[in-house]
């Protein structure tokens, strides 16, 4: 078992290296660089920029050096000093910008993940134990709807409904009157009032998928002899269901927990743009549009690292919880 975990950890290292290279390539892909955009903006503002000036700007940003040197400089700073470089656009350290927003992203993602499970597990169990009942059908329909509606569309619809029927501005995280106010209980309540929308939007898609998996797994498990045996021993239904088949059926939840977080962060990008949330998504989008490469690269890198760590965690969890994998 220790070997299996060690194996997994060792595999994560080359993946990480590959990801840093891929990230660097991606942020270098767009033709031109930030200096091109910056010079264009200077010219647009009526300043004259001759070739010498352009070269000076490029040197100042360090963009005149060969790519491998830029790469090692970038990655070296991150690994050795935790320095992600300076955002060209904001003229601020990338790490400050990212950490400031990552907290909120993680809060929203974690809450959505919890909500996803809180929806998917009980309903999946109910649907399986009461197969073809009215509520099973209702939940099936809702589940398919949840899977079919893209996140950003759901956010748009909620915004529209909130505005038209409840006269409630769904976007953002604070009402205008609280935006610059110091933290207080009232502001916290106001935050909660806004927070449920992105959490709900992000949770529905995942919950709909997991709900089907949970139901299918439970149905398969419920038909097995050990469940029959448990019933025959006279155990009450609640104990039979929650004590044995549910534990087996939970396997896919554990094996996907690693993907769930990055998927939520991915989903957060679009939802946050629609809902105008101060999370990482809109910042990443803007960084990509402006070729603010260190900022964009830092984001992609951190999100990817989260994914790898998540996958690693779920692999380890699987090994710990499932003897079949442990001894395979």
């Amino acid at each position: 078992m220790g070997r299996l975990i060690l194996d997994r950890i060792l595999w994560a290292i080359p993946t990480l290296i590959a990801i840093t290279i891929a990230t660097f390539v991606i942020i270098q892909l767009p033709p031109g660089d930030f200096a091109t955009a910056y010079i264009a903006e200077l010219i647009h503002n009526g300043e004259t920029v001759d070739d010498a000036e352009a070269a000076r700007i490029r040197t100042e940003f360090g963009l005149d050096r060969p790519y491998p040197i830029q790469f090692f400089d970038w990655i070296g700073g991150i690994v050795l000093r935790g320095d992600f470089g300076i955002s060209f656009d904001w003229q601020l350290p990338v790490s400050d910008l990212i950490w400031e927003r990552l907290g909120l992203t993680l809060l929203i993602s974690t809450l959505s993940l919890l909500l996803t499970w809180a929806i998917a597990i009980p309903i999946g169990v109910y649907s399986a134990t009461r197969q073809y009942s009215i509520f099973d059908h209702v939940f099936t329909v809702l589940g398919f709807l949840g899977r079919g509606i893209p996140d950003f569309l759901l956010a748009l619809i909620l915004m529209w409904l909130g505005l038209v029927y409840f006269n409630f501005h769904v976007g953002g995280l604070h009402s205008p009157e609280f935006r610059d106010a110091p933290w207080s209980f009232a502001k916290f309540l106001d935050l909660l009032k806004h927070l449920w929308v992105p959490v709900f939007v992000l949770a529905t898609g995942g919950a709909a998928g997991l709900l089907r998996i949970m139901r299918a797994n439970m149905l398969e498990e419920l038909g097995k002899p050990y469940v029959e045996t448990a019933y025959a021993q006279g155990l009450p239904e609640r104990r039979v269901v929650w004590g044995y088949p549910v534990r087996v059926a939970l396997n896919p939840f554990i094996s996907t927990v690693g993907w769930a977080l990055p998927a939520l962060i991915s989903g957060d990008v679009i939802t946050a743009v629609v809902l105008n949330l101060p999370t990482t998504g809109p910042l990443l989008l803007r960084a990509l549009q402006n070729q603010d490469m260190y900022l964009a690269g830092g984001f992609i890198l951190i999100l990817s690292v989260f994914t790898i760590i998540g996958t690693l965690l779920s692999d380890i969890l699987l090994v710990l919880t499932d003897p079949r994998i442990r001894h395979a």
Partner: protein, 378 residues
Amino acid sequence: MKVHDAATPQNAESEAAAAGTPVATPFQMMRWRFRRHRLAVVSLWVVIALYVVALFADFIAPYDPFEHDRRSPFTPPQAIHFFHEGSLTGPFVYGLDRERDPETARLTFTPDRDKVIPIRFFVKGHEYRFLGLIPADRHLYGVGGQRSKVYILGTDKLGRDLFSRLVYGARVTLSVGLVGVFFSFVIGVTLGSLAGLIGGMVDNAVQRLAEFVRSVPTIPLWLGLAAALPVQWDPVFVYLLITVILALIGWTSLARVVRGHFLTIRNQDFVLAARFSGATRGRVIRRHMLPSMTSYVIAAITLAIPEMILGETALSFLGLGLRPPVISWGVLLQDAQNLRSIALAPWLLAPGAAIVVTILAFNFLGDGLRDAADPYQG
């Protein structure tokens, strides 16, 4: 999931045929099985209908999708009536009275109960080439020679008919799904079969590659790649590249299905029999292994199409995918991006409904196909 020995039913088949009993081929059994899945059957028709609409977009759309009308921005959808003052008059709409709100300077439209504008079918309209070949000017519906127009889904800010734009947008959005899936099919099946067939190092490498692609958060990766496409490029080229980007990320699930299936059947009797009879490797793959997994691949492809469509819509919606003047459902939804326009013109969300219907239909169809893919099971 248990995959049954494909050789057994065939033997049983020939025995049964010899005994004169009616025999069902595997394909027939799949069809029976598929037909039991009602929702999937309905979805199949929905999908066919969607693609027919996309194919005949110029005939079905009443107006040129780029033709704007400054006199009617944000016209709400017009209700189609059949009864005028209690008597059946066939489908018609009421004419609209426009009025400018003195405070907001916005045009408001109210139906005029006296102006009956009948909807006619096969009317003359703007010229187009039917299927890109035959010059034509007939459209499915319209209001004939009158100056007024009919907007069954309303108009956008430039007074363009939303229904026409939706129908033309279907062409781009629905074909992105197909083209993207084609690319990921090529990558996925090639890598998946190599991995499943050769095993060992190759298998390991492909598995790692797939794991690597999956471990990169998709949306940021899409955004990064899409942002790399220069704005001034030819839209057709951008379109192709977008599908390639979607495929570069989407191939992993297909590869997994193919690899898994190859691993299961690699040592099954019918494959071994073919090999021991001296068939070459290529022949074993082409004649014996690939056909046995067609149904699985078709099901996986069907389930991959909605992912592609979602990807395109999301990218275009964020302004990083296709850009106007290209019309796709994601591009159309850009108009509904801010709260003001949704509050003002909720019908701009109509492309969203089209997306949901399409994705649901593909998902149901894919589920049905997947269940039918192995007719000997259960």
